[in-house]
Amino acid sequence: MDSVKKNTEIHPDERRIILKKADLPDYDVSIDCYIKNGGYEVMKQAFASRKPEELCQEVMDSEVRGRGGAGFPAGMKWKFLDRKSGKPIYLICNADESEPGTFKDRQIIHKDPHQLIEGMMITAFATGTAQAFIYIREEMPLGAKILEEAIEEARAKNLVGDNILGSGYSCDLIVHRGAAAYICGEETGLIESLEGKRAYPRIKPPYFPAALGLYMCPTIVNNVETLCNVVHIVEMGGKEYAKIGKPGNTGTRIWCLSGHVRNPGYFELENGMFTYGDLIYKFGGGLRDGRSLQALIPGGSSSKVLRAGERFTGKLRSGEEFNWGIEDIPLDFDGPMAAGSMSGSGAVVVIDDSVDIVEVLANINAFYAHESCGQCTPCREGSLWMKKITTRMANGGAREEDADLLASIGDQIAGRTVCAHGEACAWPTQSFVAKFRDKFIEKAKQDPEEAKKRPFRMV
């Protein structure tokens, strides 16, 4: 049986619901192990005694927000399904985990695949799905193998396939592998890809997946972690689940911490109970010796950067006033949003003072330029120019006008593209230039020979 290394050091302040069993030393990916630990019980009960609409209502009541990046309420997403069309409904699990800094779905897929399958089959039953898919990125070949084997095990026990558990409801589940294109994480790009085409995202409106998704049929696309939450929502009841975390930020989230911290890793935490400071210092062990914080990326590399020492002030939706430093920002959906950024996929990247901030942006820009699908001119051309300019700057060719030039390119992309990749590629440049303007100007004043030496290369 395939297995990956376990992370047995679990911080006592974590609240593990999704990852409750994943890292137990003797817990494996087999269906026997999952069932021995109470697995598929929620599904069996749901199929035997709950109506699909009741299950949808539980998810609505739970107020669970999507864990893929946008944070859209999952219950609402399901409610938007066009049921009048008479066309088959499809369910797709987005396991294309690609936002730089994110590695949470990897843990679930490799260590507890049956939890995802149970969540998907409950979701499929609740929404009347005709066929379900897991779209997994190519770079997780072991994950794809584990999932395929797990699905076969589940099929043998009549948990997937025809007349599931004698309920009269049938739904097949298959694993589909991507081929290293980040844009497939965008739900309409994913759908095009699953249809066997280039992953060119579709314009919304009219192509909302809930109405015109896979094969122009109503489709739900949910993230791995979101679908796992469904098991626990149905088990404890939506209203009970909503008591975990904070209103509007219910449940737990698996935060991925990486970059310049002593103990990088993933931590499942109750929403709103901790701050970014807790994540970096308490869970992540703080920065490395002799280093200080330069910048923080709060939710995947497309989220707007925060500069060390920055203050964030304003009024929360509740009317409460806030005045935060980076360390005080609540670790949930709304906290980083109030601070002008976003929690995205929960990927927190810590950047200390050992690296050149221009070079950090150049690294990020190289990613988004590589991953632009090329469909919309502003994104295709703009992301490339932002990469070229920042790479030139990092290589000792910075000019004083670069900061303005970069900002103007970023401003001409965001809001002018079919999909959110426009924002994803523009936000880093816009925010880095706005917040580190002095460093970009300073770069231009550097002796080019000195700048060329670059002891720490990132592009």
Partner: protein
Amino acid sequence: MAFDLSPETLSYIDKVIPRYPEKRSAIMMILHAIQKEKGYLSLDAQKWVAEKLELQPIQVREVVTFYPFYREHPIGKRHIRVCRTLSCALNGSYKICDKFKKEFDTELDEISPDGRVTVEFAECLASCGTAPVAMVDDELYENLNDEQVEAICEQIKKETPAADPANADS
């Protein structure tokens, strides 16, 4: 030119197509299977897939040329992909990549002189917590440092015979 596939791959392809509501959806899984067997996707292979799925060859080629993982030319026997993206770069992945290149005396995206490997940069491999990381074929290696890279390369050299220089072009 006739294009042949092993019976295993053929039977896999015939199994995978009916799983999808529409034939065309099977294209990526088929391309994966063929690339796994042949090492790359030749124009003949693409034509074969087009016929199999009742598509125009261009509909196959536009897929092959869009997704970075598909390739139209052979690579070394082993495929080394070093993660280039932020968290890995912050933890020295560029140096790790240089080390791989040096071990095989090769340049990025080229087949090494001994034919054993092709070293590439990959974009975020979704293992940022154990940066820097790299993949060798289907295997992920985490928390890399120079010594580990040396050990991995040693292992590759042991497992994978060098190409016979006399047949270097075949």
